[in-house]
Homo-oligomer: 332 residues x 2
DNA sequence: TCCTATAATGAAATCGATTCCAAAATTGTT
DNA sequence: AACAATTTTGGAATCGATTTCATTATAGGA
């Protein structure tokens, strides 16, 4: 079914049908004939042809490091939900943490003529930064604060700072920090800084805090925790950059017979569903992943609409930081 | 940058440039001039225009019930990976379990002129079945065996049967089954049948097995398990339709002071990462989610390629069942 | 050298929509 | 009734690619 065939059947020109669909002067009589024909034929305009002619496409590219991950899929759910509500569809690209995967997808998305891109940030390399700057369509970053780019991200620093403060208040004053790669500014650097600043704020020596770097897995948390317990048997608490790491670490603590929370306090970040199935339940900082996705999508769409309507006035880069909520459970 | 501009710069016709890109007779001299011009300008053909002209689009619609879920995101990762490898992109639609959401997305995908659709199945309603049959592009279902449609799914029945057999062999001979809605044939009906048939196979009475229906959450598993323990204090084992439910159920068991695995055995399905962080670690049936996604994508692409090349010969519907692997851990 | 195959070439048609424009129809004003 | 202003209308151009087709250049064979 094409617009021409509909026009033919309704006995009008294709221009008339187009005007019917998009608004334009049309006699009531033809309007009715066209309405009926479209109803009977079940005609839907071809979006590809529409895009071709107008240059407007309602597809948004979403580039994520690995869709199979609790936090990533939550953010993606938020994005997809918001986009759908506003009549857009999601073009998903999952890099599987492949080196330079974002670059490839940035190209793919642009070849597909997407109206905008949401990039879930992990490590910002100069080469990626360049590619992002050269991106011909609006772009919003989630989960990281990339200076100079529109971002929606979490208050990682204060979330972990408060979490650590809670541990210290509970008397777990010789803590270790199980972090992730520093290449990841939000989850790596910010969370570590938050933990160490809380230690400093309590009048303790941050240099005495054992700091280790884990993968984003429970297995890695388990192994690193075991090492720390061997090297620093005196510690009585651990702040972990993610829940997964914390849950792995708890296994190591059980093996060593450390009593949680009496002799040892532990906390994670992300408020994963698994927190409440652990023994004891894991204290964590809730981050608003879904909202992050929704806000990022909303921000992107407003950038796109701005670009389409207004003259290209210079606009300020928008950065949005979302709060957090400490969920206290039995592990501290 | 359009093909015309490239042609202009290279001093050839746009037809020549098109032939350069798609193969066709071209003198070595022009070939070189075009190559250089494309390199200098960084020209990429406009995929929308290409699609417009050829009718071939390299986008696949993927409709899932809820992207924020362990199993769903694993399958999606497999799909996206396979599609990317073969030069396709993923148009993601997450229905958030909204009533009739699949129908809406089926329309959206077709309006976007996708080359094919992968539908992650949950509940098959007659109305959905009709919509799927009316789908104008090839379609593959994952996770469910919908008769008459191309499917890639798991051996849910035998996975749970073997799991249950294991529990019984370990002496947990008075088991309960914590299932999910029967509207979901794979996770609801097949898994329940597997459990009950194993009971029957062991010479026990399947009618004596308490069966309950949970949501797909740990909280729900916790509540239902608590009820079962109150009503049937004699039971000494539980087979759960998902790991999440099982992990929730374990919390109820702890509260009641049931010793796992000495006095009580429990098992789940899905081999979630959280299985190995539980105390004791949860025995589960590993389902090949990622492979399911990859195989579904491969199957869809072969259908598409078949359709594009061959005459429309009548082809048999392909149904692929994937195996499972029992991962025995401390909970049985 | 001449003639026939074959390769190379670009003008033009095409995909399905939107939109400009000039012409036709309708309305309102004297 | 005559004219101006406004609305309605469909033909044709357009978006950026591919592909057909007729034509020209080249190669190979006698």
């Amino acid at each position: 079914m094409t617009i021409k065939e509909v026009a033919e059947l309704a006995g009008v020109s294709s221009a008339a049908v187009s005007r019917y669909l998009n608004g334009g002067s049309l006699s009531e009589e033809k309007r009715e004939r066209i309405r009926k024909t479209i109803e009977e034929t079940g005609y839907h305009p071809n979006l590809v042809a529409q895009t071709m002619r107008t240059g407007h496409i309602r597809q948004i590219g979403v580039i994520v490091p690995k869709i199979h991950s609790d936090s990533v899929s939550q953010v993606t759910a938020g994005i997809a939900r918001q986009l759908r509500q506003r009549g857009y569809v999601t073009l998903l690209g999952s890099t599987d943490h492949e080196e330079g995967g974002e670059l490839g997808y940035l190209d793919i998305m642009q070849n597909n003529q997407v109206a905008g891109v949401i990039l879930m940030g992990t490590c910002l390399t100069p080469i990626l930064s360049d590619a992002m700057r050269e991106c011909r369509v609006p772009l919003v970053v989630t989960g990281q604060n990339y200076p100079g780019f529109a971002c929606v991200y979490h208050d990682d620093y204060n979330a972990v700072r408060e979490l650590t403060r809670l541990l210290l208040e509970r008397g777990h004053d010789r803590i270790a920090f199980l972090g992730v790669t520093e290449k990841d500014v939000a989850a790596g650097q910010q969370r570590r800084l938050g933990a160490l600043d809380a230690v400093r704020g309590a009048g303790l020596d941050p240099n005495a805090v054992p700091v280790t770097v884990c993968e984003f897995t429970a297995e890695s948390g388990y192994l690193r925790m075991k090492e720390i317990l061997k090297r620093h048997p005196e510690i009585n608490g651990a702040v972990c950059a993610t829940d997964t790491i914390a849950l792995g670490a708890m296994k190591a603590l059980r093996e060593q017979g450390r009593k949680i929370p009496e002799e040892f306090g532990i906390a994670g970040v992300g408020d994963s569903w698994a927190c409440s199935t652990a023994v004891p339940e894991l204290t964590s900082a809730h981050l608003y992943y879904r909202e992050c996705g929704e806000d990022a999508a909303a921000m992107l769409l407003s950038l796109i609409e701005q670009q389409e309507t207004e003259a290209p006035t210079e606009m300020p880069v928008r950065q949005m930081m979302l709060g957090y909520k400490i969920i206290e459970r039995g592990s501290v």
